[in-house]
Amino acid sequence: MSSTNRFAYFPGCSADSTGISFTKSAEFVCKRIGIELVEIPDWCCCGTSAALVTDKNLAVALPARSLALAEKMDADLDVATGCAGCFNSLKSARHFAKQSEDNRAYVEDLIDMPYSASNDVFSFLEIMHRPENQELIKNNMVTTLHGLKVASYYGCALVRPSKVCEFDDTEDPRSMDELIELVGGEAIDWGYKVECCGGSHNISDPKAAKKLTERIYEDAMINGAEAIAVACPLCFLNLDMREKELNAIREAEGKSLFNIPTYYFTELLGMTMGGSFKELGIDKHFWPAEDIAKQALSARTQSDDTAEAKEVAK
């Protein structure tokens, strides 16, 4: 594992489409705190669950190709990615290759490229949570979230299976909560941190997926969340795009309506570092996210603001 803040960057297919706000906000934070991302030349789709359900070899070959290309570019760099799905695919392929010399050679044959499997894979969440980067985030803050109540939502792919992900706690991860609190938010306790959002059924079975999404909003609402933070573009889309549709159904059923914007955790970090909503992509959400963000940033008077910023900066 390299200790520097320089990474081979795997943006993933959603990076300049549905996940645009994640890309913008993560790249903003990286730039501010000096994390250098070098895009892997000609990386390809990681295959995600579509490859897994189709063929075991395909699910290894697709991510392994990009990992091998990263090695070819710079053998000393670990790989960084934002998307939780990409993280899981890349990390799984590496895990398979690391099992034995036989497996590694098998992967090389599969992709027809040399691959040593020496470089590790990390998500932006894991990278930004490193103590040295928390320090850098603190040093770059110009304001705080002023106690904004945030439900940190991790979903599936960052924490399961633990032997592959090697990250945080499987049932009660804390890293995103700690980052939220670092920038002055209040990380609320709630029960759906690692429950599936149904993202993989967003298109093929939206009715079943909506049930899963609804449970997440419901639990966040019951526990007083003013915002949900995510670290995955699929989770984001599935929550943000479906909130209005869920409310239409709930209204017909006479249930209370949701009014909780979803943010990438990097948007919340970037906000406190002086990033504009446009720079961070907060203006591109389906569910309006600018008002609550504005409120959070200006919740106190100017003097409170400065005092608290100093307090947090300590």
Binding site: S17, T18, W43, C44, T48, A50, K56, P161
Partner: protein, 190 residues
């Protein structure tokens, strides 16, 4: 599952159960049917057999029923079941393994899921990357759900989330070759 006549189980089914277990890296006998997997399964409400029952079918060798079940296609691969199994049975891997075996036999108990994943992989084989707008549009055409999410499309375009540009890798031939080679092994790993 009501009454089951085990003498109807064929040798072919027992061999298939063996193969499915090997591909998943699972010994079905490890499962003592506690049901922890199914209690935590977020998709159980939509399944014909909950995860515990799928494992039970495989334990008993009633494989044809498992292969025709919708559950492996409804499974969202969230991996909660595998993470919580006190016996370390990888139920998610089992669901995947059953689904792939069904697909190899040309069975598709859940048409929608199969169409979606085929288009996804076809997209990746052609361009090396997944193009979400093409994926959604093609899915709507082939599945017959023509209007699904059409109201969201203009918003996505306005936000720059989707556009006319097709994303692709430079070395499209390399990815095509890699996909074909992986698929040519018929699911056998090593």
């Amino acid at each position: 599952m009501d009454t089951t006549n085990l003498s109807n189980v064929t040798n072919a089914e027992l061999e298939a159960a063996d193969r499915i277990g090997k591909e998943a890296g699972v010994r079905f006998d490890d499962c003592y049917q506690c049901g922890k997997c199914s209690a935590g399964c977020p998709m159980a409400h939509a399944m014909d057999y909950v995860p515990r029952q799928v494992i039970r079918l495989l334990q008993l060798g009633i494989v044809d029923e498992a292969l025709n079940a919708k559950s492996p296609w409804i499974c969202a691969h969230c991996m909660v079941c595998s993470a919580r199994c006190p016996q370390g049975v990888d139920i998610t891997a089992t669901m995947l393994s059953v689904r792939r075996e069904a697909k190899r036999r040309g069975l598709r108990p859940d048409k929608e899921a199969d169409i979606f994943d085929d288009i996804f992989i076809g997209n990746v084989r052609s361009f090396g990357k997944s193009n979400e707008a093409i994926l959604a549009a093609k899915y709507n055409l082939l599945s017959g759900h023509l209007m699904q999410d059409m109201l969201n499309a203009p918003k996505m375009a306005a936000r720059g989330m989707i556009g006319p540009k097709i994303h692709s890798v430079k070395d499209k031939e390399a990815v095509k070759k890699l996909v074909d080679k992986a698929l040519s092994k018929g699911g056998e790993q090593k």
